[in-house]
């Protein structure tokens, strides 16, 4: 069967805050000027929001611009932040509460809202559909299509109904080609096609190495007497050790629920580090336990974040399209917020594309106008001011780096006249196992801490079983022949879903990939020291089904 094709003015890959904001803004402009415009969004999750996992305390700046009356329209922003608390966890018992005066300004959350980003996306999706956008959940963009002149022509969705052995099953239907004048890639952190485009068009030529973290999060029902709606906790320290850094969050939302999570920077060096186990241990600290105790875990998930910020930001335009949001790396790490910036980059892309189409452009161009709009926007200003935050922490450590950030953010408003760089890739930081100590993690107690399998169960993740494995090894021998002796195969520990296992059967060792469990967090694609694992999209619909994450 040959692939059919459909034509659109704009095709958007990924229904996260960035892609949906772009879609809404495009149709708003078209409706205002009574122009015909066809916009389609493909989303690999089974529904909008199914693959969205975030904190999230969000700033409403971009939403205010997109839908000034979002309150009246019923956007699900129900819990304003009432109080910020920041802690340094010293050890398993002790902590220091950081006085508000010592906290960099960017970490204050007054005026922000605690939301489920998944639910906000569900709402944005409804708005987009009402404005006339075609949204296709359950369809993954699997391939970039190019015109003869090298510009991007659109994308193709993946084939459905291929067996694990690569044969066509009865249910086989070939993918569809979606052609567009302009394609927006808003796949979020480490997008599978975004990565290809950044490489193909050498978009990161002038940028520092990109940096990442992996965020692991749970949703809890807690005892009503422990619930303080609007309270926001952040902090760092214990149990992270041995060169691993990161930060936790615990937000009190509505309905007697809290979200709790840990973001571990992926530049850690000890291959024995397990972000999952760090997170499970951390919940035993009194600062967190006081709220969780007696509660019940409702949901679990994980997702990587792009945190290199301004210095690592690639060029976002290429002939025929734009990479937006976390796919490019617009997250502001000094605030650990990427939602408002992802949304803003999406609306700027929509404005540049709409303008080009209105000027009679036939598509395929590289839109300098986007870069101009971006550079004169608050988004650029905000990212520029925060450019030193991450590198300072990487270079000087949490204490001195934190001091630098305090001075930079509070006294110079982010305009300290130096720029710090951090140009080593995260995967290059891994030290040989022989130079590191194995870490003895706490055994889960089944009340506050849990094992990986019962956690993955709560993510509702599922993949059609008989399909090709979507975690591709460039060289199948590397896990056992190189990664195992050198790094004790860290995939067993960095994957928060237990997808990778080294199984010993007598004398024989086997590397097993349980791809059905994959949460689409992308950590393996980022952290494998041999850069041997390539995450590609599985059959559409596959992956987690997060409610309220």
């Amino acid at each position: 069967m040959v692939r059919e094709s459909m034509e659109f003015d704009v095709v958007i890959v990924g229904a996260g805050p960035s892609g949906l904001s772009a879609a809404c803004r495009l149709m708003q402009q078209a409706n205002e000027t009574e122009q015909e415009l066809t916009v389609c969004v493909v989303e690999k999750g089974s529904e909008i929001g199914a693959h969205i996992l975030s904190g999230a305390v969000i700033e409403t700046r971009a939403l205010d611009e997109l839908f000034p009356d979002w309150k009246g329209m019923g956007a699900p922003l129900n819990t304003p932040v009432t109080e910020d608390q920041i802690f340094m966890l010293r050890n398993e018992e002790a902590s220091i509460k950081v006085s508000n005066i010592l906290v960099p300004k960017t970490m204050h959350n007054h005026g922000n809202y605690i939301v489920s980003l998944g639910n906000l996306c569900r709402w944005l999706g409804e708005q987009a559909e009402q404005l006339g956008v075609e949204i296709f959940p359950g369809f993954a963009a699997a391939e970039v299509l190019y015109n003869d002149d090298g510009s991007v022509k659109g994308i193709a969705t993946g084939d459905m109904g291929i067996s694990e052995a690569g044969e066509q099953k009865d249910s086989y239907i070939p993918g569809m080609e979606l052609h567009a004048k302009y394609t927006i890639l808003s796949e979020g952190c480490r997008g599978h096609l975004g990565k290809e485009l950044i490489e193909n068009f050498d978009l990161a030529a002038e940028a520092d190495a990109q940096h990442y973290g992996v965020g692991i999060k749970e949703l809890w029902d807690i005892a009503p007497e422990n619930h303080k709606p609007g309270l926001v906790l952040h902090g760092s320290g214990w149990p992270l050790s041995d060169g691993a850094s990161g930060g936790f969050f615990l937000y009190h939302t509505d309905d007697n629920q809290v979200v709790v999570g840990l973001i571990v920077d992926l530049n850690y060096s000890n291959p024995y580090t397990s972000p999952f186990d760090e997170f499970q241990s951390m919940k035993h600290h009194p600062v967190l336990k006081q709220y969780l105790e007696g509660g019940k875990r409702v949901s679990y998930g994980a997702r990587a974040i792009t945190k290199g910020g301004f210095n690592s930001l690639p060029r976002m335009t290429f002939p025929g399209g734009i990479v937006t949001g976390c796919n490019a790396g617009t997250l502001n790490f000094s605030k650990i917020k990427g939602t408002h910036t992802a949304m803003k980059s999406g609306t700027l892309a929509a404005e540049a594309i709409f303008e080009a189409l209105q000027n009679g452009c036939e598509g395929g161009q590289e839109l300098q106008s986007f870069t101009d709009k971006f550079e004169s926007s608050w988004l650029y200003d905000e990212l520029f001011r925060s450019r030193n935050f991450g590198p300072a922490l990487h270079k000087f450590g949490p204490i001195l780096g934190g001091g630098f950030n305090f001075i930079d953010q509070n006294l110079f408003c982010g305009k300290i006249p130096v720029t710090l760089h951090d140009d080593k890739e995260d995967y290059e930081q891994m030290l040989p196992a022989s130079e590191c100590k194995p870490i003895d993690y706490l055994k889960p107690d089944g009340e506050l801490s849990f094992d990986k399998l019962s956690s993955v169960f709560l993510s509702n993740t599922n993949h059609e079983e008989d399909q090709p494995i979507h975690l591709k090894l460039k060289d199948e021998t590397i896990p056992l022949n190189r990664n195992l002796p050198q790094y004790a195969e860290p995939a067993q520990r960095y994957c928060p879903a237990g997808v990778y296992e080294v199984i010993e059967e007598g004398q024989e060792k086997r590397f097993q990939i349980n791809s059905q469990n994959c949460l689409h967090c992308k950590t393996c694609d980022i952290k494998d020291p041999a850069q041997n694992i390539r995450w590609v999209v599985p059959e559409g619909m596959g992956g987690p089904n997060y409610p309220n994450m």
Partner: protein, 249 residues
Amino acid sequence: MKVLVTVKRVIDYNVKVRVKSDNTDVDLANVKMALNPFCEIAVEEAVRLKEAGTADEVVVVSIGPKACQEQIRTALALGADRGIQIETEEAPESLGVAKLLAKVIEEEQPGLVIMGKQAIDSDNNQTGQMLAALTDMPQGTFASEVKIDGDNVNVTREVDGGLQTVALNMPAIVTTDLRLNEPRYASLPNIMKAKRKPLDVKSPADLGVELKAHTKLLKVTPPAERQAGIKVASVDELVEKLKNEAKVI
């Protein structure tokens, strides 16, 4: 021949169902919903009959709040021709559903009605049977094969320990079992086309049916949680534990 297919919006089978903390019901807030898998099989069977030239129109009907139009659209994307939504806020009981469907049958006069044998949310497995009684139509439940033979439909039923084939005079009611067929995927162009297919909305009052509740949901409790297992090092240790700790041997 016209085929009528009934579809229900239910919690997606991938979702781990969670009971609300006050035990009043299961939690459906922002949970992924989907077409009941048995109904999906029913739609597939009807569409295959149409493709084979046996049926000339496939009508889908769903009863529920506006959101169930999503499942009707899914059925239309799979190949059904038009949809009917009967708008109700609450979830009616099986008998109420059967009464509404009986009225739809009166209006539509289908040659064949295909339904799921049960919905995976309440697992009642009774609506098809009730509908057959109300309409005085023959029924072939738990179908794993459906063959049209002139004015008859031959239905192979999955019964305990084997298969039973019955011949029914049409119009008849068939309820589907898992092995009847493997539903197709909806393609993108068909999903787009489905948005433009006709979908009528009716109320129970339009059909002259008054919904009554005969049962009351008292309480929903989750099953007892399984205790975490342990690994034993040897058969001896296993025997020892079964004997002394579990005291089962």
